[in-house]
Symmetry: C2
Subunit: 429 residues, 2 copies
């Protein structure tokens, strides 16, 4: 008999289900099993005298063993779980579980060590289903707008864009590095005339960060598009993209997220509010007495970033806030600058956490080379500068971290929001 997903079962017929034994009460005459699959849970109620062979199997079962069970599913108002139960007449043990080494309330490090057991929790299954829909919806949005998907190399020949830490790889008789972002190559795609591209892929960060929002490996969602003339166009693409994907998530998983994580999925209205960095500092001072030294006002401090959550909600009724007009010295050399020397870029803050840096890029070779020189990077980025010598459209783009979005959606730490976290002290399993 073919397997049916538990969520697709209605009482009054025979079914075969497969899943993990989530709960097990093995009494003298009866046994009660709760079986869980990716779609839900079902109580299985066994009359032991009637099916002695099944009773003998149940005696072997442990929590999280895996079984396939067949039988009539009937309504029973006394069953808490949806008022239905299966009365099995056939069973197959697929896998017997040893005693579980972690519990729901174990410490995070134990949970990570046995991540595959931790991922069985309903919350984590929802997390990955939600992330699947989020990523799929973002791709869908872009595919509907003529974006091409690319896969850029993660093994690169030169240390990376910003002089920050990269992982070194033994590459045959030479050295390679792991790309800390697809930035250079998505710009290469613009020089290739691909017009609009996106990529989902791993990025690697060799910084020894031990915060709850940094990982040494995470999944980036990056895009870049040509013939952009203003930062406004880049921000507009991003807010439309997020509003689209958030609506999909809210529609399908909003209630489950509320139930299992206590978090509301709020579909943002477009446009998101925009504010210049120095105006933001003025607002934060006026409203909350938050002050920093003038010399620090060219970048967003971590405290100011957190305060954005409150400020943006109070002033604009929005969870999102675009912050523009950072100082050139705080931004990457490849951001285009306006006539006043201000980078044509932004950070997007959601719930008090930076989720994106976006910008119009400098595509003019001479200007770009000069800006790289200023940052002392010209030698490192020689190969990249070549992309702009043989014709290149003006362009802009941004990047998001899938894991960070997931984390903020559900109120988790980054360790909990990745399929399998990697950090300076965590390389297993």
């Amino acid at each position: 008999m073919n397997r049916t997903y538990i969520a697709d079962i209605t009482p009054g017929a025979r079914y075969s289900i497969s899943g993990f034994v989530e709960n097990l009460r093995n009494k003298r005459t009866m046994a009660f099993l709760v079986i869980r699959d990716i779609t839900g849970k079902l109580q299985v109620t066994l009359e032991k005298e009637k099916y002695p062979a099944l009773a003998a199997m149940v005696d072997q079962l442990t929590i999280h063993s895996v079984v396939t069970v067949e039988g009539e599913v009937v309504a029973n108002e006394y069953v808490k779980m949806g008022g239905i139960e299966m009365l099995p007449d056939s069973m197959k043990i697929e896998s017997i579980a040893d005693a579980l080494p972690i519990k729901d309330d174990s410490e995070i490090d134990s949970k990570l060590e046995f991540r595959w057991i931790d991922l069985r929790r309903e919350q984590n299954q929802l997390m990955l289903k939600m992330q699947t829909l989020l990523t799929g919806s973002m791709r869908e949005f872009l595919l509907n707008r003529n974006f091409v998907e690319i896969h850029t190399p993660k093994l690169i020949g030169a240390a990376s864009e910003s002089g920050s830490e990269v992982f070194e790889v033994k590459y045959f008789d030479t050295k390679a590095y792991l790309a800390q972002s697809p930035q250079f190559y998505k710009q290469m795609a613009m020089a290739s005339g691909l017009d609009r591209i996106f990529e989902t892929g791993p990025v690697f960060r060799a910084e020894k960060s031990y915060t709850n929002k940094h990982a040494t490996e995470f999944t980036g969602f990056d895009l870049e598009f040509s013939y952009v003339t203003s930062v406004e166009e880049v921000m507009h693409m991003e807010e439309e993209l997020l509003a689209y994907a958030f609506a999909k998530v809210a529609e399908k998983y909003g209630e489950d997220i509320k139930r299992l994580f206590g978090k509301e999925v709020i579909v943002p209205t477009v446009p998101f509010p925009r504010i210049k960095l120095r105006d933001l500092y003025a607002e934060l001072e006026a409203r909350y007495g938050y002050t920093v030294d003038d010399s620090a006002k060219g970048d967003l401090t971590t405290d100011a970033e957190h305060l954005c959550a409150k400020f943006s909600m109070e002033k604009y009724g929005s969870e999102f806030l675009f912050v523009t007009d950072y100082d050139a010295k705080e931004r990457a050399f490849y951001h285009m600058r306006d006539e006043a020397g201000v980078p044509m870029g932004y950070d997007l803050i959601w719930r008090g956490c930076e989720i994106t840096t976006g910008a119009v890029r400098e595509h003019r070779y001479e200007v770009l080379k000069k800006q790289a020189d200023e940052k002392g990077l010209a030698d490192d980025v020689t190969f990249y500068l070549q992309f702009f010598r043989y014709g290149c459209p003006p362009h802009g783009g941004f990047g998001l971290g899938i894991d960070r979005l997931t984390m903020l959606f559900l109120g988790l730490s980054i360790k909990e929001a990745e399929f399998l976290f990697r950090g300076p002290n965590r390389l297993t399993p």
Copy 2:
């Protein structure tokens, strides 16, 4: 004025287009430009006397410079390119190209060195658009069947599954390796109860291969699903997946692929033919006099693999062929074996090239450990064996290389089929 894609233009109205100067004839009174964007080409015909400012700009232009041009588009039966032309009255130079360092017929290594210029060719743009649709369609197929998308770590703590070569990474105070496939982690996802998963991501192969179908980095498309009991189910999932995606590609790009690559996109009929390895050898000998030593018949030789193209077409009228019943000693330790000790797995051959290995996996801890021991791998895979100790559904799956599929679709080498090829001697740009 907003930009219009060239393919969306119909004569009789004003448009603004942006693109590369593909061709340029600058005569005394007239200039003829061919502008190309991601959707097509348009002739731009300038009356120089009428627009001296534009004529001065055209004097600066070089092949592959990038421009934005505005003007009336009119029908003109003398224009080869679709019988229409733009009569420009406004122009902006976005980027001036230096003299191009490669031509269409340059050697492959020069083309790779200047890959971004090479990617501008119409063939390569089609290649990446086709790959986008292929990958998107495969994801769509799986999303419609309850698959969850995961992103497994590429930095791993132990050398990998098969004892083959892996890249070593300096990871803070220790060593890491680059995953040569997501195999272990997609199986971890099965132990996590995720039921059905897929992943698109880079895989890294440290072998010094210099063939036209191996790369040190390429994009894998992997999937795994639970409660599989026979290899037939795995093969069926794959043939359905490919037939679906091929139909999408044929519909949208079949004609273009024929025109630009001279290749027919044949949408396969399901089921694909299946043959046991030893029966295949018997057929190859009877039909083509191909013989190998008996000791070599537990695996598919490269010559036999190539001959499959001819054989499968002749006998079954199919470009595809599933080959089953390899010898256990030739297959990975994690393939489940039937009662006779034969691995429940297959290779899929398309156009005489292996594109997949698929299998039912061994999910029983004791059996799996024994099979790893036999291959001398038990110490390397200790962390992986733990996945099977605490309950794990039976499962199976397979993996495809996006680049290899692309290569075979279009009749290219792997160097030409990647966005940016990586090989033992190629780490740039």
